[in-house]
């Protein structure tokens, strides 16, 4: 019985819906909607999911047990033209309603944060216990920032940038228009990561001793790094660009050839000409051209494969137009 009540409290009681109708037309600073919500099991690391249609999201780790949320309306998404076109409202002034419709729901250590962002831009900032994992989704009108969070991070931002600093687990991030920037304190030794973007650059700083298998490609951009790369043949398909045999094979036979090559092939040394851009000295466009050979056309998988520090979990870096910049932390 007690348990059911507790559960109900978790479901309904903690499901806070804060609607503050602070309709102060002449207010200088818009008031923020605030909520502080504990996890149902504060001793276990929780997961925070935040989503916004129009606006920004900032998540910061802090030394505490509760999740503190603040949401603030930045602007109304009504244009002057729209107001002027409204015949009936002629002579009247637009009343700003500053409520964000903030909503926080917690169930079994998963906290969902959302706002009603219909026709308004809302900035959300969340403080979470260090160990929390976060999953963030934003679409328009704002950047996503995550700072000092030690859990896993998943981010999608359609329009704005993604900026992650002081993080120390695994990241799965996708930006469509914006850039992805991430500076790691440390990485999880066994979790894979993935960074993908359409237009923006992907700029990642990893600890110098990170062990990883890298899969990198940019269709129109370049790949730069100051890590010592051990370029390998495509380990997934055994794409054997080194072999003279391959040249004599017909297309039909190519696939079966993939399967016959050693799945974990010996490394092939590739001489990478040095170039410099800023403090990054190596460009691997040349290596990529070498990898392509004349079979580039028929190979679906166009990644550059490389190991750093002997290899580890797979990190994917993939962009359509952006550059990929992979830096050693100093």
């Amino acid at each position: 019985m007690k348990k059911t009540i507790k559960k109900n409290i978790q479901f309904l009681g903690i499901a806070l819906v804060i609607l503050m109708a602070g309709g102060f037309l002449c207010a200088q600073e818009k008031a923020a909607d605030k909520a502080t919500v504990p996890f149902s099991n504060p001793d276990e690391p929780g997961l925070v999911k935040v989503g916004v249609q129009h606006g920004s999201i900032t998540v910061t780790g802090y030394n505490g047990k509760e999740v503190m949320v603040e949401a603030r309306v930045r602007e109304k998404l009504v244009t002057d033209e729209e107001i002027e076109r409204n015949e009936k409202a002629k002579g009247l002034k637009l009343v700003q309603i500053d409520s964000t419709g903030l909503r926080v729901m917690e169930d079994e250590n998963v906290m969902r944060i959302s706002v009603s962002s219909y026709k308004q831009t809302v900035d959300i900032s969340v403080r979470v216990p260090y160990a929390t994992s976060v999953s963030i989704s934003a679409r328009e009108n704002g950047d996503v920032k995550v700072e000092n969070v030690n859990g896993e991070i998943e981010v999608t931002n359609h329009e704005g940038n993604i900026d992650l600093t002081g993080i120390s687990s695994a990241v799965v991030a996708h930006a469509y228009n914006g850039e992805i920037k991430a500076v790691f304190k440390s990485v999880s030794p066994d979790l894979p990561m993935s960074f993908t973007s359409w237009e923006g650059d992907i700029d990642i700083t990893l600890p110098a001793d990170t062990k990883a298998n890298l899969k990198m490609k940019s269709r129109q951009g370049e790949v730069y790094t100051d890590f010592d790369l051990q370029i390998v043949r495509n380990p997934d398909e055994g794409f054997d660009f080194d072999s003279d045999k391959l040249k004599n094979l017909k297309r039909e036979n190519l696939r079966s050839f993939y399967y016959r090559t050693p799945p974990n092939p010996p490394e092939v040394p590739v001489v990478i000409p040095e170039k410099s851009i800023g403090d990054l000295k190596v460009s691997i466009r040349e290596a990529r051209d070498f990898v392509r050979g004349e079979y580039f056309d028929i190979a679906f998988n166009r990644y550059i494969y490389a190991r750093i520090n002997g290899g580890g979990p797979v990190y994917v870096f993939s962009s359509n137009e952006g550059d990929i910049l992979l830096r050693k932390a100093r």
């Binding site: 999880s188 894979p192 359409w198 380990p235 092939p265 028929i298 797979v314």
Partner: protein, 270 residues
């Protein structure tokens, strides 16, 4: 260097543990000696089947799940062996003669038979069958593990599950369905992209081919659309032309995707 010397080092060669100079020696030898080449090829095939592609170090959650699975499997196996043994034992008991002379004769006969069999047996290598059975089991195990990760993990764990499916030679229908539904409905673009790459490896499967074509119209992310178009072109899937044409009719289609779809149609049509 003799053939047996060379063959001894094949495993190290395949796992990339040899130095460049040693690898070069092996390559040079294999290029000349057809016996060794055949041996290396068959070993490579087993290797691929075993799927020892990458060294994967599982996380804690993964490890717990794996061990609980292993435990269940072990219990079931033990039970099976116990039952077999009981049946065998009672049957053997009935065969045992009652008179000591016959007992002695039987024992002697058994000994001679054992020596003969033992002699013959050592000549016939059993490696092949053992390897195949082991490969099958590893395959099943990986399959289950991959499916469970894709089902319930964080984004990073879902990627881990998909990466694991890269190493399977012949995944079952259940896993293929899972990869297809991941491609269509996973919330993360990154995970959907990884699913495209995994499904590419199994595109010969009719279900996968159809699933990939159908998926074109369901994707909203240009990243995934581009990956699917590239895939269709690279596997020369002519049936995808219609799907590409209907993609072109979509409103707000990214101009670059439009361009790539048009080029794709051209390349698939001639």
């Amino acid at each position: 260097m003799t053939c047996s010397n060379i063959q001894e080092r094949f495993v190290e060669y395949l796992t990339g543990q040899l130095s460049e100079k040693e690898s070069e020696e092996i390559r040079a030898h294999v290029a000349e000696c057809s016996d060794c080449r055949r041996e290396l090829e068959s070993l490579t095939e087993i290797w691929t089947k075993l799927g020892v592609l990458k060294e994967e170090r599982p996380g804690d959650r993964l490890r717990t799940r794996f061990y609980s699975m292993l435990e269940t499997y072990k219990l079931a196996e033990e039970e099976k062996i116990r039952k077999e043994r009981e049946g065998l034992f009672s049957r053997l008991k009935n065969l045992w003669p009652r008179k000591p002379v016959f007992q002695f004769a039987l024992t002697l006969g058994m000994l001679v038979l054992g020596l003969v069999i033992g002699n013959v047996w050592t000549v016939i290598p059993q490696q092949e069958t053992v390897n195949t059975a082991l490969a099958d089991e590893v395959q099943t195990m990986r399959q289950t593990l991959a499916a469970s990760l894709i089902d319930q993990g964080s984004a990073s764990e879902r990627l881990q599950g998909i990466n694991m499916s890269y190493t399977l030679v012949d995944p079952d229908d259940k896993l293929l369905d899972k990869l297809l539904s991941t491609l269509n409905s996973d919330p993360s673009v990154n995970v959907r992209l990884a699913a495209v790459e995994a499904l590419y490896l199994f595109h010969d499967h009719p279900k996968v081919k159809k699933g990939l074509i159908d998926s074109l119209s369901r994707q909203s992310s240009p990243m995934v659309q581009a990956a699917l178009i590239d895939l269709m072109v690279s596997i020369r899937e002519r049936r995808a032309v219609d799907a590409l044409k209907s993609l072109l009719e979509q409103e707000d289609l990214n101009p670059e995707i439009k361009d790539r779809a048009e080029k794709g149609i051209q390349r698939l049509s001639f």
